[in-house]
């Protein structure tokens, strides 16, 4: 953070968290997008010893869920501390029970909320008010910030007001739009906070604390005699709150000059038409109102800042008496209600108060609309259209804006060009990849401009949903005036393309204004580049008379010793071309920023970045535009597979093309149901190198395919008698060395446009050339040297029939890889440690699998549109997948299991009743069928086909009842999948209960030891001595032994696996778990980018995890206990290397050793002792005999 009392450039989360940290003592946190950074800032500040206003370091503690965080805050408040938390969306909902209690006890606190969409038909991480509107009945005051500055200011105003009023506050601002927007704000100096600080109220709060020196009782249970009265007893506090808030706002204004009101009016004093809204949408509305009033109209808006308690008098005092029509805008949806919440409040207020306040004027017409759900764009043009609608003689009483609703026809169409941005605002857009530093560089540029010029700046960043090869678009505005434009840049003066491949994929120049500058990172020189552009792009450049500049940023970066890091180069070029600052001054500021940012990274990093700055200027070249377009060199655009599937052609392909905005309501599934098997249509072609197979060396082990995180390396056998008709010349095969399919031909094939280039397959390949040791049976080579051939090869490969499942005994690696994966081409990180397990699961059981997937990485790469990696086989069978929540996944899966069984029981019941009509023998065969392997399942499916045919001929209500149930007579394999954040923390209670229930579910925990999806926060699976977010000084506590907790039940199958260390044990564990007729728990070691390892070596790294005893492999099979055996099988040998040798290869441990060597050493010694103890314990477990009674689920 910058010096006190100055302008700083930061985002909304940091702005709010800074005040919350300074004014509290106990900060209970739990990660959830988009509020996580508030907790991260607090944790980091506490770790570095930063103090609050009272001179102590607040206690920052991570809980197991938002419910836990709220409970901790509640307890801290009761015991007299100042306490806060940060959350959003479902997290806020988990706090509701405590929120009612906290308010009921009149306890002062502020929860800072980055308002986010609540998951309904789908999860969305983006912003709207559906979460905060859900807590409006809790008895909390609600203060809405519209901007980064207000998020900072209202954090303080709400804290003061809660202490004075005793009413707890939700302080909220829009997720992403405000929480992640970078803006130049004026920081509140500490002396201002102190001047406003209500010391007496703080003292009163402490005086009310539970204290055995003056004991009281709170949380009593009350009866009908007094509960009601007691509830009403708090009324005066709510009545007083609006005045308290306004007083705090006024005193704040006196010291800062920034005046806020509970309701702020903006616009013509004599406005006839008024919009009412809250949150960041006000930013867009300012501009629309200015534009319309300049054009002679009389319009205005009321910005609702204090939403609860809703002060009707103040609202009426704010509304111009001239108002004839009002549009109330809600950023939420309340299906079935008379209207959304803000509308209802405004309507009720007007109904009651207008006749009193304006008895002479007619009650204004009030319409209401929804906008901006899930961060849907909300622009000045939309506001203008809404104000236009208020002029209509019969305006739509209920409307939506920003979408096309062709089902209920609620949407207003609008002219997107109706309102244009001020000429004083310079607008720049940067297209980059998540991994190339574009966003970071743009934030850095915003800071440089914000902190070194009188200009105001705003940065906003858009990401796609992939974890590998994600495209980012950074929007940067700067202006002499404060920037309130809370929408994406629509016309840019400067467009930068940081990745040349976007030239063929994205229409970046659509945003460029005539005469704008286009900066392109190009491997082609100024002389060569023009003919590489698509014709449409050439036309736009010429017609708009754009100024084109190229720089070979990759080469400049490489020459500077920063291969692959183009951000500094592109940032330098931006400053050189944009003219915001004199070039030399800009360069000096960039270098100052580099020194500031990277000096702690070391001298080499600083010097190389300096070299990149100097090299960038020398390499930046203007390209004169030719007069005419020329024929384009054929670009290697990835082919999208053809399909006859209507949904995919109409919808999925549009989503993939980034044009989902164009889809109307009628195109949408009404209940969130989407087809699987769509990732195959998203040919992203993001790898620079792909694995190329050399069959002359291959030993058919199948490991490359086994470990591939993206199913982009496949294995197939072609029968010896099948001619390779139509095979491309480049297609390769070899004789299969196994005895099982003698004479068959093996092919190992890369999917060149789906591979991420992680190299894990090459790393694990054990077959080396005898003459050139570095040459393996599979080798990473330039994609461009092989792309055409491998595309043809892959297309041919896909047409080779899959191996019939009943012919493969899938109990060894290479056999499993002959089975079709039904999880493919996910957007997971390159080298992901989780996805290979999921792929294996689908190879073993995918045609009969139902997946309950906890929210987290696996639900994002598994279910984040536009596509899903879960797919089907040629028969249309494959995993059926659903995500409920983060916290309930085990229970969700249990529900699936129970439904499957109930459907099965009913089918059996009906089958018995229809036995005569359907044929005794068939019915008995169906009922008595064993389905323990693929052969038996295929036979049962054949019986079901016959059964269906016979059922169709039976004219009976029972037959009709049975028809939709017969498929349940084939076993379903229910898998409950999630990460350690779910299994160890937020979902542990449910998981424990489900395991205890004895039901036949399979649980797969993809254990990365951190909350990977939200950015690597510590969980109870985080190992001791590892640094992680929320454990920045190294996790002090030992990793929870989830497996042994489950083992303690006796009846739960448990295995700890690491497929890179022992593939065979992993396969065995999967097979045993699935076959076990009770609950099974697989805990799978999953390397993650948050570990700080070379992900290429992730699978071989697992070997060291096992060798060191860090991750012992074992299986506990209750079936062995029932046969007088030893149920616990330790599959690892005694550790052969010290823990230190393993963990120091991971940055999460090594960084701690560098930052705090003494603590790292202390924690590592303890971690080594943990391992020694754990292994000794497991060894003893291996010797233990158990004799468990058979127990059915019901009995358990």
């Amino acid at each position: 953070m910058a010096a006190e009392g100055k302008f700083i450039t930061c985002d909304g989360n940091e702005a709010a968290a800074e005040i919350a940290f300074k004014t509290n003592e106990v900060v209970a946190i739990y990660p959830i997008t988009p509020a996580s950074p508030m907790g991260e800032w607090s944790d980091a500040w506490a770790a570095m010893g930063k103090k609050n206003l009272d001179g102590i370091v607040p206690k920052v503690i991570e809980l197991q869920s938002e419910g836990g965080a709220a409970g901790t805050v509640h307890g801290a408040l009761q015991a007299g501390a100042l306490s806060t938390t940060f959350t959003a969306s479902q997290g806020l909902l988990l706090m509701i029970p405590n929120m009612f209690k906290i308010a009921g006890e009149l306890t002062p606190t502020v929860f800072h909320v980055a308002a986010r969409t609540i998951a309904t038909h789908a999860l969305s991480i983006f912003g709207d008010h559906s979460d905060v509107m859900t807590v409006r009945s809790c008895g909390w005051a609600m203060l809405a910030a519209t901007s980064v500055q207000e998020a900072h200011d209202f954090a303080l105003i709400s804290q003061i007001a809660t202490l004075r009023s005793r009413v707890p506050f939700v302080h909220f601002f829009d997720g992403f739009r405000t929480s992640h927007e970078v803006n130049k704000i004026e920081r509140i100096p500490d002396d201002v906070i102190r001047a406003l600080w209500p010391m007496d109220d703080v003292a009163a709060h402490r005086q009310r604390a539970l204290d055995p020196d003056r004991p009281v009782l709170r949380g009593s249970a009350q009866n009908p005699d007094i509960f009601f009265q007691a509830r009403e007893a708090a009324n005066p506090f709510y009545l007083a709150t609006p005045d308290i808030v306004q007083d705090a706002m006024d005193r704040f204004a006196g010291l800062t000059g920034r005046q806020y009101r509970a309701f702020d009016y903006y616009g013509a004093p004599d406005a006839e038409r008024v919009v009412v809204l809250m949150g960041s949408g006000a930013g867009a509305a300012y501009e629309a109102i200015d534009a319309l009033n300049r054009a002679g109209e009389r319009v205005g808006m009321i910005i609702v800042r204090l939403y609860r308690p809703f002060d009707a008098d103040r609202f009426m005092a704010t509304l111009p008496a001239t108002t004839r029509a009002i549009a109330v805008l809600d950023r939420t949806k309340e299906p079935g209600a008379a209207g959304e919440p803000l509308y209802q409040d405004v309507a009720a207020t007007l109904y009651r108060h207008w006749p009193i306040v304006n008895s002479q004027a007619a009650l204004p017409r009030v319409i209401h609309g929804r906008y901006g759900l899930s961060s849907k764009e909300f622009t000045p043009a939309m506001v203008a259209r809404i104000l236009d609608e208020l002029q209509e003689s019969s305006p739509k009483p209920e409307f939506t804006i920003g979408i096309v609703d062709d089902v209920t026809n609620l949407s207003l169409s609008y002219d997107a060009d109706r309102v244009s941005e001020s000429d004083q605002v310079t607008r720049a857009v940067f297209y980059g990849l998540g991994s190339d530093g574009t966003v970071g560089a743009t934030k850095n540029s915003a800071k440089i401009i914000g902190e070194n010029t009188p200009l105001h700046v705003q940065g906003y960043f858009v990401y796609d949903s992939k974890k590998s090869g994600a495209i980012t678009v950074s929007h940067l505005r700067f202006s002499p005036q404060p920037i309130q434009s809370t929408y994406l840049i629509q016309k840019a003066n400067f467009v930068a393309c940081h990745q040349f491949q976007f030239v063929d994929r994205l229409d970046m120049l659509e945003l460029a204004t005539p005469g704008a500058t286009f900066l392109l990172n190009s491997p082609f020189s100024a002389d060569e580049v023009w003919q590489q552009f698509p014709v449409a792009m050439q036309q736009q450049l010429i017609e708009k008379k754009l100024k084109l500049y190229v720089v070979d940023a990759a080469k400049v970066a490489s020459d500077a010793g920063l291969a692959g890091r183009i951000n500094t180069v592109m940032q330098t070029c931006f400053f050189a071309l944009s003219g915001i600052l004199p070039r030399d001054e800009a360069i000096e500021h960039i270098k100052t920023a580099i020194r500031k940012t990277y000096s702690k990274r070391g001298e080499a990093v600083v010097e190389r970045n300096f070299a990149a700055v100097d090299g960038a200027l020398a390499a930046l070249v203007e390209v004169p535009l030719p007069a005419n377009v020329v024929e384009t060199v054929q670009a290697a655009v990835s082919p999208i597979p053809e399909t006859t599937d209507d949904f995919i052609n109409r919808i999925t392909k549009l989503l993939i093309a980034g044009k989902g905005e164009l889809l109307p309501v009628s195109a949408m599934p009404v209940d969130g149901t989407f087809p699987t098997g769509t990732a195959q249509f998203e040919k992203r072609s993001i790898a620079a190198e792909i694995p190329i197979w050399d069959p002359s060396i291959c030993i058919d082990c199948g490991l490359c395919s086994f470990v591939c995180p993206h199913a982009a390396i496949r294995m197939k056998l072609r029968p010896s008698d099948a001619a390779p008709n139509g095979a491309p010349e480049s297609f390769r095969d070899k004789d299969w060395s196994g005895k099982d399919f003698a004479g068959a031909k093996l092919t190992i094939q890369v999917a060149p446009d789906d591979c991420t280039g992680c190299g894990v397959c090459v790393d694990v390949c054990p077959a080396r050339s005898k003459t050139v040791a570095k040459h393996k049976a599979i080798n990473m080579e330039s994609k461009w040297d092989h792309l055409d051939a491998e595309r043809a090869n892959f297309e041919y490969f896909l047409n080779i029939p899959e191996m019939p499942r009943d012919q493969v005994k899938a109990d060894v690696v290479k056999a499993t890889q002959l089975l079709q994966p039904l999880f493919e081409f996910s957007g997971a990180c390159a080298g992901c440690g989780e996805t290979p397990y999921l792929k294996l699961l689908t190879q073993l059981f995918g045609d009969r699998t139902m997946v309950a997937n906890a929210t987290g990485c696996s639900s994002i790469y598994g279910g984040n549109l536009p596509t899903t990696p879960w797919t089907t086989n040629k028969d249309g069978r494959g995993p059926a997948w659903a995500n409920s929540l983060f916290e309930d996944n085990a229970e969700f899966g249990l529900g699936m299991r129970l439904a499957v069984e109930e459907r099965q029981y009913l089918a059996i019941h009906l089958l018995g009743q229809l036995s005569e009509q359907l044929g005794e023998m068939l019915v008995q065969d169906v009922l008595n069928a064993r389905c323990s392997n693929d052969q038996e399942i295929i036979e049962q499916r054949a019986r079901i086909v016959t059964l269906r045919e016979r059922l169709a001929k039976v004219d009976s209500p029972l037959a009709r009842q049975l028809e939709p149930l017969v498929d349940a007579l084939v076993p379903r394999s229910v898998w409950i999948v999630g990460g350690d954040g779910w299994a160890y923390d937020i979902g542990f209670g449910g998981l424990d209960h489900v395991l205890a229930s004895g039901n036949n579910v399979n649980v797969l925990v993809l254990d990365t030891g951190v909350y990977s999806n939200t950015g690597g926060q510590a969980s109870k699976a985080t190992p001791r001595a590892a640094a992680a977010k929320f454990a920045a000084d190294g996790k002090a506590a030992r990793k929870k032994d989830l497996g042994m907790l489950a083992v303690s039940y006796g009846h739960v199958y448990v295995a700890q696996i690491a497929m890179g260390a022992n593939p065979q044990q992993t396969i065995r564990a999967f097979l045993e778990a699935e076959s076990y007729p009770g609950p099974s728990l697989l805990i799978a070691y999953s390397q993650c980018i948050a570990h700080g390892i070379d992900m290429t070596t992730g699978m071989t790294h697992q070997k060291d995890a096992v060798k060191s005893g860090f991750w012992p492999l074992y299986r506990y099979d209750p079936r062995q206990a029932r046969q007088g055996g030893h149920p616990f099988q330790l599959d690892s040998r005694k550790p052969t290397i010290p823990l230190k040798d393993f963990v120091m290869k991971e940055a999460r441990f090594a960084m701690l050793a560098r930052s705090d060597a003494a603590r790292a050493q202390m924690l590592l010694q303890k971690a080594q002792a943990d391992i020694n103890d754990q292994f000794h314990y497991y060894e003893q477990m291996g010797a233990i005999e158990r004799e468990l009674c058979d127990a059915t689920a019901e009995e358990v």
Binding site: E40, V439, T472, K600, G1016, A1027
Partner: protein, 331 residues
Amino acid sequence: MNIDFSTDYLGFKLSTPLVASAGPVTSLPQNLPRLEEFGAGAIVLPSLFAEQIEHEELAVYDFYSEMDEAHAESRSYFPEMDFYNSGRDKYLQNIELAKQSVKIPVFASLNCRAAGQWTREAKRLQDAGADAIEINIYDVVADIERDSRAVELEQVKIIESIRSQVQIPIAVKLGPYYTALPHFARQLADAGANGLVLFNRYLEPEMDLQEMSVQPHLELSRPNEMRLPLRWIAILRDVLPISLAGTSGVHSPGDAIKLIMAGADVVMMTSAMLKMGVDHMESMFLGMKTWMHANEYTSITQMKGSMSRKNCPDPAGFERSNYIKAIVSYV
């Protein structure tokens, strides 16, 4: 009979000619007072490998940069740490700590690659309080385009540039593989080197036949390795007026005595202490004392160079004829 064990090395009057050389033994702060107590005349701290530090700096930079601001849900994947070091800070701190913990001179050791890096890092070591710097030149020349003359000139230039930037004494630790070592050694002395440390033991690669990989591997020295510095110290002693240190294969008092007789001002030792413990320093000291007493030597100065090439009865013994003689006697 009193024996004067003192010796001059790099301008310092050392209490004994036994020096703990750069290595794992001197990397542990707790060993330093014990070494002093057991008779070490000076201590050389382990090498600051600038290339390693740079590699780590860039690795950390990559770690943080790789996924920085890459996804909507995660600004990063690891907490930012404001106070970490990539090795250099700790090394510099160790110099200060070492200086506080012992009275004997503490020498730093430095290994770099890039030209500017040598001078910059050397200055840092001086500023941190090192009494002298041992310049650890370790250059495996694999480039067929670089000839020996050019390589030697580069190394001389490094010494010149360091000399121009630091005021404390510098010693150059060399490998043995020079075609004309005396000539090169004189150039180093002319460039400003105050002494030579003979010889560096290279980290030779080892092959792992299981993994089919090449791994760096360091074998501890064996006593017979002492003969290589023995020869060159005997030769150089008579032609160069600078300090000479013998290192590699010094395991017994006899080894030390031989090197001193050949002309070494000090002898350095690590492997023997790794094998036998830090207190082997004391055994060495006592052993030398016993031998000198038995053989009526009264000072190190007295015996230093007494068996140099010039002073020994059979100078050819240090030259090529030695090889011929050995073969002849064998057959």
